[in-house]
Amino acid sequence: MNDPNLATLSASAADALVACHDCDLLYRKRPLREGEKARCARCGALLYTRKPNSIERTLTLALAALILFALANIYPLLDFQFQGRAQQSSVLSGVRELYAQGMWTLAMVVFVASILAPLLKLLALLYVLLPLHFGRRPWRMAQVFRWIETLHPWAMTEVYLLGVLVAFVKLSDIATIVPGVALYSFAALIVVMAATDAALEPEAIWERLEPCR
């Protein structure tokens, strides 16, 4: 390996560089065409991408996701009918029942993963993207945008849906289970949320912060 000339890497030149988040190798940033991705040649990690109309597309999808999220939480998920007795369950009633039975830590984990984290993530996205779309910078944009990445692994909507499906199949041979509006909303929500994540180009948002430095 050649010894690179460290003196050439001045503070301003650091802007034109990126480091791989998995192996720390440095790269000179090159302009990409829309839809292109730059990957690390050493470890294969994604370095940066360029996505068309990232802010507008993410904004639209996040708004759609928020509506579906509301439906998924207002309406019942499953209807349980057994010998003339019926019981409905929503996302929140599962949390409430765990809490009522003394399992408050478990109730909290379910609440955070199925309701709080996805909701905060969507609200944070809207808080940052809506003003940016109209050419304004939201207050404390950096802090709010940072949460989105922190919240991401804890928003488990798609895992939750699988849990519901397992419960559905388990009960369906001993009782009559009728899927509710929320179940369909959930199915649509995970698709729209995945599309929201795919449309977002975080680098483009962070670059909006540049002028204030």
């Binding site: 690179p4 650091a14 470890c43 765990l98 984990v109 379910v110 993963a113 895992v159 397992v166 419960a167």
Partner: protein, 214 residues
Amino acid sequence: MNPGLPITAARAALARCHACHLLSRMKPLPPGNHAHCPRCGAALHLRKPDSLARAWALTLAAYILYIPANTLPIMTVVSMGHGEPDTILSGVRALIAGGLWPLALLVFFASVVVPVLKLFALTYLLISVWRKSRWRPRDRTVLYRVTEAVGRWSMIDVFMISILVALVKLGAIATIEPGAGAMAFAAVVVITMFAAMSFDPRLIWDALENPDER
């Protein structure tokens, strides 16, 4: 593909902001002071702080909790005053007995295979970094990425219990009560997620940086 400069950011004294990914020059600071990203204000580090110690502590805690997670009941079906406790494995067995093979496989994979493999993968990564292994760094990085991405899927059983508990409330005929095993199991999943987050994959590559080997 863009060939990399033959140097890591850390060697060039550049810290990559973990939040906004901006590179900043690290200057020596008086002890007790922290560097912050000039763009987004997040704390700057060349590597995740105390990565190995934190990841080890969390992984060991997860191993310990893994025992009650599998031996204690995750839920109890109380029917006509008679309780029938279910562990993770007996839940899978019940699905097989009911002929629900695809579902049994899904639950077995998410609740048994993934947590075990995740714990083993974390242990292996931690030992290999501690021994400064130079063996297949790219494959070990991929192993890390898979470990980090797949962990959340183990929560299926926990969510299933929350639904069952809310639905099956038929008084004396049948009720489902959550068990302590579910709490331990959820703790294993959450703690291994934190363990994977505190592990820094760049440490795998730092072993290749040893200058006396060039």
